[in-house]
């Protein structure tokens, strides 16, 4: 299962709910305002870094660039994908759970 999170971890509870309800080992894609969870040095970094140990966490590159986030700020273990990579994630997992 691929879980998509499109909200800022500071504004909403979507990331918390996703981390609580995504099965260990499943894939998580941070996109739109959800990409703010992918970087180091914030109050959301610890929980995301911890999640990146038990899950495959991805972040959408075009959404990072739009928001001025650089790849060298990424939390260890989080991989950057573009829209083609997003498509691959959907194809390679057997379903998508959107945390809207």
């Amino acid at each position: 299962m691929l879980h998509t999170v499109n909200k800022s971890p500071f504004e909403r509870n979507s990331l918390d709910s996703c981390l609580r309800l995504a099965k260990k080992g499943s894939a998580i894609l941070l996109m739109e305002d959800g990409v703010y969870a992918a970087v180091t040095g914030t109050t959301a970094t610890d929980k995301m870094a911890s999640a990146a140990k038990g899950n495959s966490v991805y972040v959408l590159g075009p959404d990072m660039s739009a928001r001025g986030l650089a790849e060298d700020q990424l939390i260890d273990g989080i991989k950057v994908v573009d829209y083609e990579g997003f498509v691959d994630l959907v194809a390679d997992n057997d379903g998508v759970t959107p945390w809207l």
């Binding site: 739109e32 075009p62 573009d82 083609e84 997003f86 959907v90 998508v96 959107p98």
Partner: protein, 119 residues
């Protein structure tokens, strides 16, 4: 592989419609099929042909319409959600059609993946 797409928000205000569009373009480029995009909730506003964005901005409504013409994607606007919000035949952009929610269930049943974009 066949992807069904569900869009829950209108153009400009939320990124949902932009994200969905970029996803669909990438999926088609990779050789996947996107038989249908279903527009629900405020997503119905994506079909408003009167939308006229500024010259230096993307034209969300036209872009969907062009994609439908070029790639044969079936753009379906939910009739109930559209009526409530005033998206009807009178202001429906070319390339979109209005139909019932059963078209969403069919897309979920007939596609290998359902991908949803919203707020």
């Amino acid at each position: 592989m066949k992807f069904g797409i569900l869009i829950n928000e209108g153009p400009f205000t939320h990124q949902a419609s932009d994200s969905a569009y970029q996803f669909v373009v990438a999926a088609l480029a990779k050789g996947h099929e996107v038989p249908r995009v279903f527009f629900y909730y405020d997503g119905v506003y994506n079909a408003n042909k009167l939308s006229a964005p500024q010259a230096d901005d993307r034209n969300v409504v036209k872009r969907w319409s062009d994609l439908a013409a070029e790639k044969g994607v079936d753009l379906v606007v939910c009739i109930a959600a559209g009526l409530r919000r005033g998206i009807v035949e009178d202001n429906l952009m070319e390339g979109f059609r209005i139909s019932g929610l059963g078209q969403l269930t069919e897309a979920a049943m007939g596609s290998e993946r359902l991908v949803m974009f919203g707020d």
